[in-house]
Symmetry: C2
Amino acid sequence: MDHLKETCLDSRRIYEGKILNLRCDRVLLPGGREATREVVEHPGAVTIVALDSEDNVYLVRQFRYPVGEVTLELPAGKLDCGEEAEACARRELAEEAGLKARSWRHLLNFYTTPGFSTEIMYLFLAQELSREEAEADADEFLEVEKVPLAEAVQMALEGKIRDAKSIVGILAAYLILRSGNKETCNAGR
Amino acid sequence: MDHLKETCLDSRRIYEGKILNLRCDRVLLPGGREATREVVEHPGAVTIVALDSEDNVYLVRQFRYPVGEVTLELPAGKLDCGEEAEACARRELAEEAGLKARSWRHLLNFYTTPGFSTEIMYLFLAQELSREEAEADADEFLEVEKVPLAEAVQMALEGKIRDAKSIVGILAAYLILRSGNKETCNAGR
């Protein structure tokens, strides 16, 4: 795939911030021309599909300042410096939803916006839940609710859950868990 | 939901770029404290699930500079200034995949990263395809391929298609189209 590759010629730091940095690179394109690439540097993040024994999934309602809306999302959060993804997922599930899980399964990694940011998202399925209150982030105001996973799928397909990581998490968990019960699923085909 | 809202106190422009701007706002939190919010301003974008008459979906292979990887994604692109989403989807499908479609259906809108950017993504299903070559973006080097939609679902669940908008588009289109054939689907339940 090297014939598609772009090579960095030089890099200009524009901003070093709290949750992101911005740089602007001059790159050499495969055809020999030059172009600029604006890159948002992000530490990476986790998203958790926390399912209780009755197949309800936990969601958090919060105000998202960049889009000016209250959204309903899966619990999620940024990696602290040097933090392992699963440790981050355990921490965020406690901080945001007041839960701990005995069973953890890594489902997927994905890029949220590979066209302009480095952010990678680690997606986990958490089961065998119990309460564990943890100190919430002082800057976060959240409300927790739970809905049946099948209902969350419908909410995602109808635009009621409308952020990419939550849609990915809910639809992927639903399809992966369903394919784990393939006997039932294929019975009618 | 006003009790969750954050209010802008002041805003500092940091960068005005080619595909994004960056600003840093000071906000008033619901509890009365102040915080900063870094906001990447993005014009919005479209993603297209282009399905041929045999249920193959078109994908584009390209180098994504921010993540340093060649990825396999749905055709997609940013809105030009003042451009309608469906017009943008028609343009991008021609530019990136060399296709036009007689049937267009708007499936969903979603936010790619509501924690730090304003980007909204408009997702379309395009069917009844025919060839239409259009001039490609001079900065883009792409390879087009097609795979059966059911195989694309597996590729998404196995991490072979690994950007959020493509996973959302493929899984959502699959589930929405399947629910349009509910009689078949529920027959075995």
